[in-house]
Symmetry: C2
């Protein structure tokens, strides 16, 4: 797993494998930090991993409801908070939705999200150099940046060719 892989998920990628890898990664991260990767947390992550689309919290609930008694919103929000705190899930601000992070980058490094308007798939691109420049520009005006959100909407390769 690295940022060298294609930024946008290819429609024919081995999704089973990318899901499995992400789960293994999550276990490792939690282990390492002595955090508990409880069943509910795992299930929420799995729901998000089921596609490369961001899901709203209530979509996650719907997804989980298929395989267990419908969880309460709070239950899912707590799991999402945990997963985000550990860099396993991103929140897509422009959609109020959540996305499993398929890449193993450290939680602090800046990423930009590429959101396809057509199919809803989301990819990541490393944005560190640009974010740095921006943060610098911000700082030079006296502003102390803490968190950058970069979200680019457009059309993915696949949807461009399958117009």
């Amino acid at each position: 797993m690295s940022l060298a892989k294609p930024a946008f998920p290819a429609p024919d990628h081995d999704h089973g494998r990318c899901t499995a890898e992400a789960l293994t990664h999550a276990e490792a991260v939690c282990e390492q930090r002595s955090q508990k990767f409880t069943p509910i947390r795992r299930q929420v992550l799995q729901a998000l991993l089921s596609s490369h689309r961001p899901l709203g919290a209530y979509e996650v609930i719907d997804e989980l409801a298929k395989s267990m008694p419908r969880p309460a919103p709070i239950t899912v929000y707590r799991a999402l908070d945990f997963l985000m705190a550990n860099g396993l899930v991103h929140r897509i601000e422009s959609r109020n939705a959540y996305l499993a992070c398929a890449h193993d980058h450290d939680a602090t490094s800046a990423v930009a999200f590429l959101i396809c308007e057509r199919c809803g798939l989301v990819g990541e691109v490393p944005a560190a150099p640009f974010a740095q420049g921006l943060n610098q520009a911000a700082r030079s005006s006296g502003f102390a940046p803490r968190l950058s959100v970069v979200e680019i909407t457009g059309t993915c390769t696949h949807c461009q060719t399958h117009a």
Copy 2:
């Protein structure tokens, strides 16, 4: 009006003037495009101009309700859509809120928003060079970017010194 002015609104800036300028600018833009700057549109813009904080749609309604019979949500959303389409208002995605654009930059040029977590004020910085780099990176992975959202949360100068 230009991007050369301070990116973040100084707490002691001449707000009456910056409001008046923005309104004049709005009139000019509408005139030029033969669009109608109707009373409701003006009032919504004024509500947003009353601060440099982004307001949610329902906050706009509350604001308008002070000086007229409470408008329905749809009324405000229509006005907001119009104002956004004409580059007079930005939507802050990470807050589901709307911000009057105090600067006279053309609607397409990329800007980044600096959002103070403490006081809620929002400033703009020109982000064209960074956005270009990012868009380039996106394109090189086959993605066709349309709209970039860059929102940086942090602490503004004023709030840093008045901890």
